[in-house]
Symmetry: C2
Subunit: 143 residues, 2 copies
DNA sequence: TTATATGCAAAGCTTTTGCGCTGGC
DNA sequence: GCCAGCGCAAAAGCTTTGCATATAA
């Protein structure tokens, strides 16, 4: 049983074949697939699945807080099973590759800034967009 | 002449009545309007304006780097004239209010993290989502 | 059994685009 | 006068939904 399926059961969600398959696809993904990709991967496992169900299921999972929705600026939503430990994303604007990172210091700052403004932090999103540094680049000299 | 119109001229953009009006609406906005809002405000100044032109114009301004596009997770894009100094956003999830803030330390960290990962930072987005802290809240005690 | 989930196709929303007309420069 | 910009309406892309059928509990 996959990680996400276990979480579904813990949340008391009714498990259908479709949900199990979608949970598996999302659990096994090491990228950040959009709905279309999830649908394609799920269809390969079982063609008896519809795009509407994928949309309904990712929404369900999201509302159950076991799936995170991201928007990397390309017009569609991308998904990622809620990781054990939080992380942020750096998007390579040349290749579209997504690099995950975690920085303790920046996490503390987020909390502190919200507090200073009079808010309790309930969510946060940080995305960095960058181009790979090559030795010839000016930026490389900074290192 | 509004701030944004001046920037348009500096960038050498051809100025039509419509662009001037849209620039004015965006310059005078102290919120983060979506295209529909910009269209409505512009229409009040001059009804001879179409939604398509608003879309084309915000895109043009964005490509000229004089307008910033945001996505606060409600399905449409929100716009803000590029501020003199960069800032991030905290979104009040109860009221939808958007608070702008700037934190030197977090800005430096963004750059440093990208560099550490081998990237030159070309863009970044930080949004905090929070609920207002009342004296009765548990979080209030942290202050 | 009974409420809930699914598939299909239609519709909804935001955003883009083709085309003939208008208007800056 | 010419090329870019505009309005209009159609279409495109992502996502949601109505309805009849199927299925988990």
């Amino acid at each position: 049983m996959t990680h996400l399926e276990r979480l579904c059961i813990e949340k008391g969600l009714k498990m259908t074949d479709q949900r199990r398959i979608i949970a598996r696809v999302l659990s096994e993904a090491d990228d950040h697939p959009d709905v279309e990709s999830v649908f394609q991967r799920a269809s390969q496992i079982d063609p008896r699945i519809s795009l509407a169900t994928v949309y309904r299921t990712v929404r369900l999972f999201q509302e159950a807080d076991i799936l995170a929705k991201h928007d990397f600026g390309d017009g569609r939503s991308r998904y990622e099973s809620v990781p054990l430990e939080h992380h942020d994303h750096l998007i390579d604007v040349e290749s579209g590759k997504v690099v995950e990172f975690f920085d303790e210091e920046i996490e503390k700052l987020k909390e502190a800034i919200a507090l200073k403004l009079g808010y309790a932090l309930v969510g946060h999103r940080l995305e960095l967009y960058g181009t790979p540094i090559k030795k010839s680049d000016k930026a490389y000299k900074k290192i």
